[in-house]
Subunit: 175 residues, 2 copies
């Protein structure tokens, strides 16, 4: 199990970025996202996408983050620009039973001491979406984005168009 815990989600303000976090988690090989705070709209839109594009990705909202951390039996990593460089830590990372924590703009101070590793994807301010994507890409050695999701909709790689196969409906070889 590779899971992501999204801290500090505010349904109005953060929905778009949290959606990016959730879809990035899924597309780069994670199995589940825990979201601190309830957000039915977020859950619905992620579940709809999973239904169409496949895979077994789970989303659970309204979790108590301290409890999620306490109950996690494997390794826990917090992605933060203040942490140790990913280049130093990468070889220590397990490829499963890993909980990856990403915050919104501010994270509770305790987090730094509740995890096994605080890891920086660079020490510049950027984006939790970027940090998560590169972290997963590196720990899975590029294999995350090559997973087969067996969805109703499959994208057919193309030089210069949009080609999909929609097995749920008609085929749209190009649209």
């Amino acid at each position: 199990m590779l899971a992501v815990l999204r801290l500090g989600h505010r349904p109005g303000r953060d929905r778009r970025v949290t959606t990016h976090v959730a879809l990035t988690a899924r597309a780069f090989g994670a199995n589940k996202i825990f979201v601190a705070n309830k957000d039915g709209n977020l859950v619905n839109s992620v579940n709809k996408l999973v239904d169409r594009f496949g895979g077994n990705f789970l989303i659970e909202d309204g979790v108590n983050w301290k409890k999620t951390i306490r109950q996690w039996s494997g390794t826990i990593v917090h992605l933060t620009m203040y942490g140790l460089p990913i280049d130093e830590i990468l070889h220590k990372m397990p490829r499963n039973d890993l909980l990856i924590i990403v915050g919104a703009e501010k994270v509770p101070k305790d987090i730094f001491n509740l995890v096994h590793y605080n890891v920086a994807i660079g020490h510049q301010p950027h984006s939790e979406v970027a940090a998560l994507a590169v972290f997963l890409d590196r720990i899975l050695e590029g294999k995350g984005i090559r997973l087969n999701f067996n969805g109703k909709i499959t994208v057919v790689p193309s030089k210069n168009g949009k080609k999909i196969i929609d097995s749920g409906k008609n085929k749209h070889p190009s649209r």
Copy 2:
């Protein structure tokens, strides 16, 4: 010059995600971002961050995207889930004179034919922030996030705290 062109930016709705795109561009080694549509608030907040954290990153808003593409003398890449897999294309990518296009939710159809390469960072829906980060991380072979930005503020990598050196003001070894 490694530059990013952000298409379809709507100042109200997209500011946060476009900010993530811009900061990701900078933190992963790009030199400039062009933003289609004017957005003074976006430009100010990126410039303020550059002033504090360093580097020579430029942001130009209100650009005409067709003109930006036409005037670009180097290679042009469009990141899209419909494109060819990054694993196939990576060796063809130049490390400079490269314009990397990322869209918002919808991109004008013409884009697919106006670029040299349509490249997919996986064929699943996720995030332009994630796609840009992984693309830059891969073409720069992980060196982007190790650049020295020589800013007023420098993060000191830390096992479990927030350590910065603020040469503009006092030193905060830990806060």
